[in-house]
Symmetry: C2
Subunit: 168 residues, 2 copies
């Protein structure tokens, strides 16, 4: 259940009998949000998005269990409904927000201390919008003390040639 | 531009040459929200919803101009996305929220002092969700100093036999 090593090439440590799988990422709808004139501050400031452990229990499966990890976007109060309408159309990439405002209600004590990624400014006219995050499986792997696994590093995604707005 | 009289029967004061029109009301989707287990505190407490003047300018038309009036629902942070997805499907009844959180960003200085209707408790896990309100035309009529008009009283709606979820 602990992080042992980070490396840029996993070819040499890949077990013969292992299976790789790819899951959606909320970055998939960043383009759609920009097209709707919803700015993305983390990208603008060349930072990774802030990610947080929550108290939201995932449905367990066999020996795997744990809580959801979420990413946060600061969104102008007048743009939040539009953000929801857009992201809800990407169910393959985490879909709409799981929580809007009130970080403490999902077990996030301090927005300025993300568990992964970089903290980001929240302006007076904005509220924090939380989406399910693809780092959740990593958190689950560690929580479930899986003997061995290779995952991506938070914020370093696999980019495919599938169109972002099409359910694969 | 001032309220002259409130009455329960307007038959006797109805000008021969006047035209009546009905516009949608956010109450139309209250049933859909309840079906999705989103509670409606104002209705539960047998109060009218709180309504507020805003600084959101409506598009003017001829001699008519003025700002949008909004109603407010306190919604649990984890239910807000669902609330948006549901209400967005009722474009004939004001549709999705115009603002979520941050009342001051649309010119509402104090949630406890609504301009119409009754104030309502906002709990720690909730944020205020603002929808365009059918009281807007009244506010516009007064702002535009229309010589004579009859309107509904805020919260006392015309109930039709059209199904709520069908665009008429």
């Amino acid at each position: 259940g602990v992080l042992e090593k980070e490396m840029t090439d996993v070819t040499d440590v890949w077990p013969e009998n292992s299976v790789a799988f790819l899951i959606g990422c909320s970055f998939s709808y960043d383009g759609a949000l920009l097209d709707a004139n919803i700015p993305l501050r983390s990208a603008e400031q060349k930072k990774n998005v802030p990610m947080y452990n929550t108290n939201l229990k995932c449905r367990s499966s066999g020996s795997l269990s744990g809580n959801m990890v979420v990413s946060m976007k600061p969104i102008s109060a007048m743009d939040v409904a539009k953000e929801v309408e857009i992201t809800s159309k990407f169910p393959h990439a985490h879909g709409g927000p799981v929580c809007i405002g009130r970080p403490e209600s999902i077990g996030i004590p301090d927005l300025n201390n993300p568990d992964w990624g970089d903290a980001i400014e929240l302006r007076p006219d904005e509220i924090p919008v939380f989406h399910a995050c693809g780092v959740t499986p990593q958190s689950i792997l560690m929580n479930s003390k899986v003997p061995f696994a290779i995952t991506h590093s938070a914020g370093y995604m696999f980019v495919s040639d599938l169109p972002a707005d099409k359910v694969p």
